[in-house]
Symmetry: C2
Subunit: 205 residues, 2 copies
DNA sequence: ATGGCGACCGACCCGGCGGTCGGTTTAAGT
DNA sequence: ACTTAAACCGACCGCCGGGTCGGTCGCCAT
């Protein structure tokens, strides 16, 4: 039974380190040797647990990334009655300069998609699935929010969700070097302006 | 003198095809052989004109991409007195499903940056320069627009510019597969809402 | 103890691709 | 006409990195 445990530990070490390196360098730029050297593991160990580099990556995406996205960005949307406040708060939290510095899960989704779309359709399908999970959930919340009077009736919820996610993903590309603190503040500030334009009282423009 | 001309023609063919392939497949995924085969040129021809793949790429970015960005997204900002209308119109035009289908120059800037940042600092510096040219220009226009009463006085122009560009870049990542017509419409619609929240009359929210 | 199997090792293979280099063609100068 | 150098050719190199494979070690069941 200790065998089984050791296996799990190794797989976990591989995945977390893999996520780290993939997030930093992208899929193609990452080579297994580097990961393995840092973990003091061999090629054999890797290919004992994973079928290929692609298999490895997909495993990471479907487990670590998807879970984190859900916990950070999807699930919190149901916490409040007002969807715009809920979105605001979830993004605020998601942009908190986290523990393992710079591992902002929403961002890397966009990065991977950008890199792999076109080529590697297989993989990007999984990535798109995750993004879509986020999107449809947000749309749903916006729609109920509209019924509850938190959002003006003429607003296109699909468009709003797409716009929010777009700005969130694009922010990473823009503000990579700058200090994250200020970038976050600026971003949330503008988002707040935008949200105000969606409120029922702010109709007529 | 015909020699010189022929050289220019070859360089042009290489660059346009290169831009095309780079935009589709990204920097690392693109290999020179493919480009050369399609153009019926040899390795020798390529390395006669360019020092390396990186040199080639930078040349394309600094010439074709930078010029196009300027013509499409920077220069039009000065065309109107109201910066928000000018930005709106420039993005509208930039998103027009263009001639050589799918060659949306603003997008590929973001794509390249996403792929190359971290690794390839050299190249991404050039990319960032172009983005920044766009950004500072937009900020300038917003500030004069504020003085002219087109924008509310409490608005943070830097934040607005960053937010606009972010949403523009991020939109590509999100809406890659969907029909561009609808995506464009949705995007511009939301941008309009956002812009309304920046107007002086729309203050108080 | 012993057989077996799962975890792991690391030398090796091999294809792809960036880059090189000696050679050939062709246009331009004299 | 002869030279010169440019544009261009394409076989070749060498490295890098994903993937393979025969082998070792040690836990566990019988």
């Amino acid at each position: 039974m200790e065998k089984h445990l050791k296996s799990k530990v190794t797989i976990n070490r591989l995945c977390y380190k893999g996520l780290d390196v993939f997030a930093q360098k992208g899929y193609h730029n990452t080579n297994l040797n580097d990961i393995l050297r840092e973990l003091c593991l061999s090629k054999g160990a890797f290919y004992h647990h994973f079928k290929s580099k692609e298999d490895f990556f997909v495993y990471i995406v479907q487990n670590l990334v998807a879970q984190k996205i859900y916990a950070l960005l999807v699930e919190p949307l149901s916490a409040q009655e007002d969807p715009l406040s809920a979105i605001m708060e979830s993004l605020d939290k998601a942009l908190e300069p986290g523990k393992s510095n710079e591992l902002i899960y929403g961002f890397m989704l966009g990065d991977f998609l950008t890199e792999l779309d076109g080529k590697q359709e297989q993989i990007s399908a999984y990535l798109k699935d995750i993004l879509q999970m986020w999107e449809v959930n947000m749309i749903g919340m916006l729609k109920t929010g509209k019924l509850d009077g938190h959002i003006a009736r003429h607003i296109d919820c699909e468009g709003v969700a797409a716009y929010i996610i777009s700005s969130y993903l694009g922010m990473r590309t823009m503000k990579m070097n700058h200090n994250p603190k200020q970038a976050k503040y600026q971003y949330l500030q503008q988002l707040r302006h935008y949200f105000n334009s969606l409120r029922p009282t702010a109709v007529r423009a």
